[in-house]
Each structure stands twice: as structure tokens, then as C-alpha cells.
């Protein structure tokens, strides 16, 4: 299959099928409804299942139930819908269900707007729900990458038995780009005889499996949390993904930016290079785990005088950048929100003024 | 009693509901586009109008009003 021109939302739907996920539960919300529309057509063609749930709250528990019994399942939504899933996401993290959740972010807070935004960074990376947990958060910057990340997400979720979130934005969902689909994933879900409530008949042992998150005594609940923390620490060590751009140059400013925003920053780097100004960029591809070490090292480069976090939000990722730069260089934030994507020109002005 | 029949052609979206329900077939859609890109309705046969307000009742956009003409 060669390149096809496809809307991000539709490509995400197709990618899930190629990742071997034939179970999709969702509730419509702009700017991601085309995923459901696409899969409502496609799933029957490939013997898969699509169910439009009655609400995002319900949908989060549908994928909880589905993944808890050992099947691949995913959902997609956009900002307010993800908020409604907060409780369910916390539950799935506690129950260690390998669910995949796509958030095609729109402007907030409240009903906000339907245009692209990146204002759910905190919610995705620090946990919108209650309790100590983390999601693995992947942030695609193109439709091709969205496809690849969706196809990575399922095995990754299963490897760690942890929910994975794909954090895109309205632009990723709505634009069309040429995309080349990788082959269907060969991998089946990992052996889950030990934990999945798949019915005892499916297993050799006749121990019944229980998926639960209530621990009335402090000790087992703390044990769970310690176990989870060790898992998150391992993820921090092993799953960091990022892209460096122009970091070989003698840049004075280091940009940190992700997703759609990072594309604009790429243009900024290119344009300033033509003017003879060098700017480096680190683009986190995973937001959790955050590529803190890479950013710190890039910031500590001799020529680097300052770091700029460019976001389609009022300043969220900048805190993670500050956390890793640890005062070694001044860290600034520049951002727009509500749907306006900062233009290369604006960012160039900011960089020149630093 | 005399009445004045007023169509606000900028409000009108040319949906044709009023055309359909008018008992006297007074109304037609024009072929002049308005600022919003719609073809508004007009009274093609005003002489037949009995000011029954049926068109008003059915108009989703309150584009038609009928007032009394107070003769001085």
C-alpha cells in the first residue's frame, strides 16, 4: 500500500485496526468525531466492533471492562470528554489495564472551543484523575507519526499493563497529509492468563482472576502504589522518545515544543538559520516519560543561553522543562491558546527579543 | 383594517417553509442571493395575501412580520 491522502482522524482509526485493535468504544465530540464515523464504516468490514457509548463516563468503563478481560480496546475523545473519563482512567491505571486513549485536544477550559490546543498537558501527564498514577503519553506531530504512535501504543500499553494516551490536537485530527500505513501488527496481546478476567475456561489453571482496585487496608494499597511507582520509574528509564533538531549547531536558544506546535517551531529554526541565527530544538515525542535528560544536556551546551517552551497553552509543559533544566539556564514560555497557533513570525520575534 | 407584510430578506434563509404552508400561494423564493448566500423569499402575489400569519408561524427565523397600518 502506497501513500494515501488522509485526514488525521481517519488515519488514527485505520492505524488502530492495523494494530490489531478491533474494539472501539467512543462518544462523538469535535474535533475527533471522524474517528468514530470512519470506524463505524470500517469495523464491520474487518470483523471488528464499534459501539457508540451513551457518554464518555460510560465509554471509559467499557474499555476498562474490555481490556480487563484481556482484549485490545481503545477510545478517542477530546478535552471535555477526557475530563469525564478522569475517574475511569484512574481506575484503569490502578487495575493496570492496557487501554489506549486518544485525546484530540481543543481549546479550554469549560466548553471552550473546537480549535486546536495543547491545554490538557497537565491533565495528561500529571494525572487528571485522583491518586498516584501516570499515563504513558505520546505526542504525534504529523499524521504519519500519529499512525505510528497508535500502532506502538497497544504493545506498549500491554508491555507495561498501563493505559497509554495519544495526545494530539484538533489540527492533527482535522488536517490531511499523505500517509503510508505500516503492515498489520503481528503481535497478539501478551499472555495475560495471570491476570485477565477472560473466563477460567481460557486458562490452564483454575484460579479465578480478579481485577480490582479497592484495598481497604493500607499495606496492600501502599504495595500497589510502590509497584506502580517502580513501573513508572522503569518507563522513565526505558521509554523516553524525542527528536533533536539542529542541536549540532551553536544555538543560543533551545526550543522545547511538541505536536503541531513543534512543526511551527521547525519552520522557525529553518527560517532563522537562513538569517544566520541558530536555534536548537528538542521535540518530546513522549510527554510522559519526559525527555528531561536530553533537554537538560541540550540546555547546558555552552552556547545555549536560554530555553523557550513553546506551547498552545498558557504555560504547562514549561514546568517540566524548568524541572529538568534546574535553574541552569533561564526558561521562558511562549504560547497562544484558544485555537490560534503561534505563527513562525511571532516566535521569531520572541526569540530575537530574548 | 390594513396590514403591512414585511420580509426581512437578510434574516431569511430561503428554506421555503413559508412558501409551502401559505394557503394562498403568495410566496416564492427569489433568485437574488443575500449577504449570507441564501435566496430569500418574497411575496410573488401580494394581492392574494390574507394576512393569516401562517407563514410567520412556520418561519424558523422570524423573517416575516405583519403589522397593522394605522390610518391617520
Amino acid at each position: 500500500m502506497g501513500k494515501v491522502l488522509m485526514k488525521g482522524n481517519e488515519a488514527i482509526g485505520e492505524a488502530a485496526i492495523r494494530a490489531g485493535c478491533l474494539n472501539y468504544f467512543a462518544y462523538p465530540i469535535t474535533p475527533q468525531s471522524e474517528i468514530a464515523e470512519y470506524l463505524s464504516r470500517r469495523m464491520p468490514e474487518v470483523g471488528g466492533m464499534f459501539l457508540q457509548g451513551e457518554s464518555e463516563v460510560a465509554v471509559s468503563y467499557m474499555i476498562f471492562g474490555a481490556t480487563a478481560c484481556g482484549s485490545r480496546a481503545f477510545t478517542t475523545s477530546s478535552s471535555p470528554g477526557i475530563s469525564l473519563m478522569s475517574e475511569g482512567i484512574s481506575y484503569m491505571a490502578a487495575a493496570q489495564c492496557p487501554a489506549v486513549i486518544v485525546n484530540i485536544m481543543r481549546g479550554g477550559p469549560g466548553l471552550g472551543g473546537i480549535l486546536p490546543a495543547q491545554a490538557d498537558y497537565f491533565q495528561a501527564t500529571k494525572g487528571g484523575g485522583h491518586g498516584d498514577y501516570r499515563l504513558i503519553v505520546l505526542a504525534p506531530a504529523s499524521i504519519q507519526e500519529a499512525v505510528e504512535m497508535v500502532m506502538t501504543a497497544f504493545p506498549l500499553a500491554e508491555k507495561y499493563r498501563n493505559p497509554v494516551m495519544i495526545l494530539g490536537d484538533g489540527m492533527i485530527g482535522q488536517m490531511m497529509e499523505p500517509v503510508e500505513f505500516p503492515d498489520h501488527l503481528k503481535t497478539e496481546p501478551l499472555n495475560n492468563d495471570k491476570w485477565a478476567t477472560s473466563g477460567m475456561d481460557t486458562r490452564k489453571s483454575d484460579k479465578n482472576n480478579i481485577i480490582k482496585t479497592l484495598f481497604l487496608e493500607s499495606k496492600p494499597l501502599e504495595d500497589l502504589n510502590i509497584f506502580l511507582k517502580a513501573k513508572f520509574d522503569r518507563i522513565r528509564r526505558e521509554e523516553v522518545r524525542y527528536e533533536s533538531y539542529n542541536t549540532d549547531s551553536d544555538y543560543k536558544t533551545l526550543i522545547v515544543s511538541y505536536g503541531t506546535m513543534s512543526r511551527v517551531c521547525r519552520t522557525v529554526v529553518d527560517n532563522l538559520k537562513e538569517e544566520g541565527i541558530e536555534v536548537g530544538m528538542i521535540r518530546p515525542r513522549t510527554l510522559f516519560p519526559f525527555p528531561g535528560k536530553a533537554i537538560r544536556q541540550a540546555a547546558e551546551k555552552d552556547t545555549c543561553k536560554n530555553v523557550l517552551s513553546v506551547e498552545m497553552s498558557m504555560g504547562q509543559m514549561v514546568e517540566d522543562v524548568q524541572l529538568c533544566v534546574q535553574g541552569k539556564r533561564p526558561v521562558r514560555w511562549y504560547g497562544r491558546c484558544g485555537g490560534d497557533i503561534p505563527t513562525p513570525e511571532e516566535i521569531i520575534d520572541v526569540i530575537k527579543s530574548l | 383594517m390594513a396590514y403591512k407584510y414585511i420580509i426581512d430578506s437578510e434574516r431569511c434563509k430561503g428554506c421555503g417553509l413559508c412558501v409551502e404552508v401559505c394557503p394562498k400561494n403568495v410566496l416564492e423564493l427569489s433568485d437574488e442571493i443575500n449577504a449570507k448566500g441564501y435566496f430569500p423569499v418574497y411575496q410573488a402575489h401580494p394581492e392574494n395575501c390574507i394576512f393569516c400569519t401562517t407563514c410567520c408561524i412556520m418561519c424558523p427565523d422570524v423573517a416575516i412580520i405583519i403589522t397593522e397600518i394605522i390610518e391617520a
Partner: protein, 178 residues
């Protein structure tokens, strides 16, 4: 080289598919391309819009405030976007329903009665194809023949519309070359 064009008009005038056909043709040529729409309920009764960026290298920003070209299918779009077009770009105006010009003297302005031309070609619904063809013919943003293939592909499922649209393409091209 990167080239950007905005297609804009009323919902229903087919501006989104104009952009899509162009993007498709560019992709077939092996170019990088991004198509971004306006979306959501504000389209309703308002302005439909899409931007196509074509480039020979990786495309950074998927949007730009100052595109090279504009195809304006209605007056509000012309008024809104004409001031943004880069000097030297093309502004194509659907003069069938737009009575004014762009007011710019630093651009290549084409007044083309695309609806009338389409009607003559067999269907007013092909007005967008007339506009697209005229724009491509003038801008040479991609090969006209490639565009022809993309249009055919777009109508693959409604084959009987293809002849009308081919006619519309020819007429659009002709109008632009005048």
C-alpha cells in the same frame, strides 16, 4: 519551494474538495502536502475554508497567516482573506457572485465567472472545479494533467459526472489563460 493556497466560500460551494483534489494531485507527484480545513459548527451558514500547502520538503507549520494564493468563491471570503495574500500571489475571484475586486494591486487578480462557466459546461455544481482548474492553470502549482487524474479519482464513484467535470476543467483553464 513552498506554495500555499486558501480556498474559501459558502458551505456547499465545494471549497473543501477543491483543496482535497489539489492536495491529492500534489501527493501523486511526490510532493509534501498538507490540507487543513475549517471545521465544526461555525461552518454552518458561515464560511467554509481550507488551506493547501505544497512543498518539496518537509512541511513545518500546517498553517500560515500569509498564504501565496486565494481562491475566493464568495464575497465574505474575499473580504476576509484577500488582505492576507502575499504580494505577487494569485487572487481568483468568483465573479459570478462577487461584484467587487480584491483592492490589491500587488497581486495577480483573476475575475472568473466560475458559476456561469460551470453552468455552460453542464452543471453549476462544477463551479468549484472551474475555479480550481483556473487556479492551477494560472499558478502551475502542479501539472494540469495530474490535476485531471485527481478530479477523475474524486468522481470515481459518480462516473457519469466525469465528462461534465472534464469540460469544466477545460473551460476553467481557458478562462485563466485568457
Amino acid at each position: 519551494m513552498q506554495n500555499e493556497v486558501i480556498f474559501a466560500g459558502f458551505g456547499g460551494q465545494g471549497v473543501l474538495s477543491c483543496g482535497k483534489i489539489l492536495a491529492h494531485a500534489a501527493m501523486e507527484k511526490g510532493l509534501e502536502v498538507v490540507w487543513t480545513p475549517s471545521y465544526g459548527p461555525e461552518m454552518r451558514g458561515g464560511t467554509a475554508y481550507c488551506m493547501v500547502i505544497v512543498s518539496d520538503k518537509l512541511i513545518g507549520s500546517p498553517v500560515t497567516r500569509n498564504p501565496h494564493n486565494l481562491v475566493a468563491m464568495n464575497r465574505p471570503s474575499l473580504e476576509k482573506y484577500a488582505p492576507m495574500v502575499k504580494p505577487g500571489g494569485i487572487i481568483l475571484i468568483n465573479s459570478s457572485i462577487i461584484s467587487i475586486g480584491s483592492g490589491r494591486d500587488d497581486v495577480d487578480e483573476l475575475m472568473i465567472p466560475v458559476v456561469d462557466i460551470a453552468q455552460n459546461a453542464g452543471s453549476a455544481r462544477a463551479a468549484n472545479i472551474v475555479a480550481l482548474s483556473a487556479f492551477v492553470a494560472r499558478s502551475k502549482i502542479i501539472d494540469f494533467d495530474l490535476l485531471r487524474e485527481s478530479v477523475k479519482e474524486e468522481f470515481a464513484k459518480k462516473e457519469k459526472l466525469i465528462p461534465i467535470n472534464m469540460k469544466a476543467m477545460d473551460e476553467g483553464k481557458k478562462a485563466a489563460e485568457n
